[in-house]
């Protein structure tokens, strides 16, 4: 059902068709906000957590 629907084709009566430019700007802001966190990388607590789990696993075997 999602076949021939081109990106611009919005037949829904209510939601106004967002211009490409608007979509692009929303997308940029969304990604900027998201990437701001992604760029922080992996906080130590998560590396330590995996190390602990890994050790536990090894101890048991």
């Amino acid at each position: 059902m999602e076949i021939a629907a081109t990106r611009n084709k919005k037949t829904d009566a209510k939601p106004a068709k967002l211009g490409r430019e608007v979509q692009a700007r929303l997308g940029q802001q969304l990604r900027a906000m998201y990437d701001d966190v992604v760029d922080q990388g992996v906080p130590d607590r998560f590396v330590e957590l995996l190390n602990r789990l890994d050790l536990n696993g090894k101890d048991k075997h």
Binding site: D12, V22, R31, M33, Y34, D36, V38, F46, L49
Partner: protein
Amino acid sequence: MPMDESVRKAVLGAVPSLRAFAISLCGNVDRADDLVQETMLRALANIDSFHPGTNMSAWLFTILRNHFRSEYRKRRREVEDGEGRYADTLKTQPEQHGHVEFREFREALAQLPADQREALILVGASGFSYEEAANICGCAVGTIKSRVNRARTRLAEMLSIDNAAEFGPDEQTRAVLAGGERS
């Protein structure tokens, strides 16, 4: 559990985007990090149910999303204030959300219904396809599409960037016409 090196790598590699997703969902860095940690524990405890060769990141996102949803429902039953909660969290702890520049956007995002917010983030920021997002959220592809559309429309309204397109050419031209200082 002896950890497979490839599993370890894949899980660690997914952490940055899991965090970004979790922060977008719950609006609080500390809670988001707890969510990520719980997700990792669950994932590793259930690593046998992961199908090698499929998308590890999508699998982890699914776990995080489901965990968040069940926690959210629990809390919601405890504190009967549902929708306003996320927005309130943002307002009371602005310093936790990093750069000020995203504040307005985050606040607008916080006003969206949870369904729309997660759909928009998965597709628009995490880079999942509509199909993958539908799998993660356990709904139909069409549902994801309409949630994403509604989310975009709503955000554009709230951030007042819906007018730009209606005015035509582009923002720069308008700025010039309006005597703006952009060159």
